[in-house]
């Protein structure tokens, strides 16, 4: 792997190491070159058990959702104590830092581009219900992120989805039922299409 000039071979100790390093640099004609190691072996292996507590992301297919469950009714009291101080008693938010969560125009066809004042809420804008769980788990409440249990997080998620008319009262949300929730705005989302047929030359 480490090709050294022939004359360094046989020189012992620290001198050899220093000479080897210097010659390797000198012998290099381009950026990494074919003389560089394929691997630097500088990282440290990590076990699945070490990864698990950091592995907090949740995907639309439900991957990452923990065991547990909650209902809108359970979520109402958790919302009142943990969320309402910033987002308001009815999820109306406090601009600009604390977004309105619920209570915007309903449905999957709300006209957002014409007026920025039209509230973009969970029910009319968020494409995946799993995002709601994932975000609460990650970041909320602002003053004590990570303090809600999985059951409490499911319950607050259920409460907000119920306020938007997406899950019925009494519904129990868990990993399976949350993944199955269809959000009204889902089909509106498209991956960046600015390049498209114009080759990125025109504003789209």
């Amino acid at each position: 792997m480490m090709r050294a000039p022939r004359w360094t071979l046989g020189v012992a100790g620290a001198l050899a190491a220093a000479a080897l390093a210097a010659c390797k640099l000198d012998a290099r004609n381009d950026y990494l070159g074919d003389k560089d190691p394929r691997h630097f072996d500088l990282g440290h292996p990590v076990s699945a058990a070490e990864i698990a507590p950091l592995d907090i992301d949740v995907s639309p297919d439900g991957a990452g959702l923990p065991a547990g469950s909650g209902t809108p009714e359970q979520g109402a009291s958790i919302y009142a104590s943990a969320c309402a101080s910033c987002h308001g008693a009815n999820g109306e938010g406090k601009a600009p830092a604390y977004p309105q969560l619920v209570g915007g125009p309903k449905g999957g066809n709300v006209d957002f581009d014409a007026d920025y004042k039209v509230p973009r809420t969970i029910g009319n804008y968020w494409p995946y219900a799993t995002t709601l769980y994932g975000y609460i788990r990650r970041a909320m409440p602002l003053t004590a992120p990570g303090s809600l249990t999985p059951d409490q997080t499911y319950a607050v998620t259920a409460y907000l989805l119920n306020r938007e008319g997406i899950v019925p009262a009494g519904a129990t949300l868990d990993a399976k039922s949350l993944t199955a929730v269809q959000m009204p705005a889902k089909n509106r989302f498209v991956t960046d299409d600015r390049r498209g047929s114009t080759g990125g030359k025109n504003t789209r």
Binding site: L32, D36, R38, H39, F40, D41, L42, G43, H44, P45, V46, E50, I51, L54, D55, D57, V58, S59, P60, D61, P96, A97, Y98, P99, N109, F112, D113, A114, D115, Y116, K117, V118, R120, I122, Y125, W126, P127, Y128, T130, T131, G134, Y135, R138, A139, L142, P145, A185, R188, F189, V190, T191, D192, D193, R194, G199, G200, K201, N202, T203, R204
Partner: protein, 424 residues
Amino acid sequence: MDHKQITRRSLIAGAAAAAGGVLLDNLPAAAQQGTAAAPAAAAAPAAAPPVAPDDPTKIPGTPTTAVGERSPFFTPKRAPVGEITGTSLSPIQDFAGTLTPSDLHFTRIHAGVPLIDPTKHRLLIHGLVDRPLEFTVDDLKRFPATTRVHFVECSGNGRAAYRTPKPDMTPQQVDGMFSTSEWTGVALSTLLHETGVKAEAKWFLAEGGDACKLARSIPIAKAHDDALVVWAQNGEPIRPEQGFPLRLLLPGYEGNSNVKWLRRIKLGTAPFMTRWETSKYTDPLPDGKIRQFSFEMDAKSIITSPAYPNKLSGPGWWPVSGLAWSGRGRISRVDVSTDGGKSWSNAELITPLASKAPVRFQFLWNWTGNESLLMSRAVDDQGYTQPSMAQLKAARGPGTDYHFNSVRGWRVARDGSVTFEANT
């Protein structure tokens, strides 16, 4: 209350001493008494420029210091301050060249600036890799380093000027979520070479170590292209507000995806659909679609001088100076108009051109004293021309949320006063 008084008084005394012994007697009485009615701003008189000697060559100057400070005659500031979930805008009108002084880089934070011990910080790379690995900051510094100049622009930059323009907006208020640094780090592709990448990996999640654990999904192609994991900014460790000790640097991509305080990268088959790529940082369009993963920042420019609140003292030569950049490549040309877009001239590009880095442009203007409307328009090496406000509004709608790159103007009145003009 007594405790508060002592604290405030000693703070003021300390500030006064630091400013070179400004007389406490000059402070407002309320500040000296430390009453609740005295906000921190009451100490502002202490920041007034000192009186310089008539002839500084006749007395010795001040001694060496451990850390240098700006001249007391130059006091640029970010604004606003005190936000936990918000933005502090960079005073882009106060700079020359293209680099932003690190302590004035714009700040966008979602859950405050974390205090991170670099010896305890780790970067984990896992998911669809052959070997999940964890790196210390010191480990990363042993890889081959890359140093490049790149801008970071919040994709919401220019929002207020687009939606609610006012004549008395400064460049800082118009476009202050834009900063440029020389970044040093290791190519993400080098790290992924260490872990190995499974063939089915198409996206990676980048996650920060702040209190909201901000996370974005990025196409794996960007990792193989030019993504960096950086630890240095302008020759020193990254500032805490910019991600100390590690940040993801995605040249040309919207600021939010350049995840600060980077602690985890997870490779997957599909986007993870975090809040910051669904509910936010997406673009509702007139055709009813909502565009997401619109990472590249399209070509844009802004004249930083003259601008509000400048006032030209009279007719004559005035340099029209500004910045132009593109997230897709190099700037190839900047046009300047002094007549509101009726005619355009080539500006001089006075700094080196680099991909996904800004250039400083300059146009020497001989002002006759008539009312004028100054505009700049950037063209990049992909053939893209910065649109007018009318073109951008037609494409995106007035309610769109991000990527505000329209041509903006500065109106110069006959008395030399300069005001902002958004409609182009």
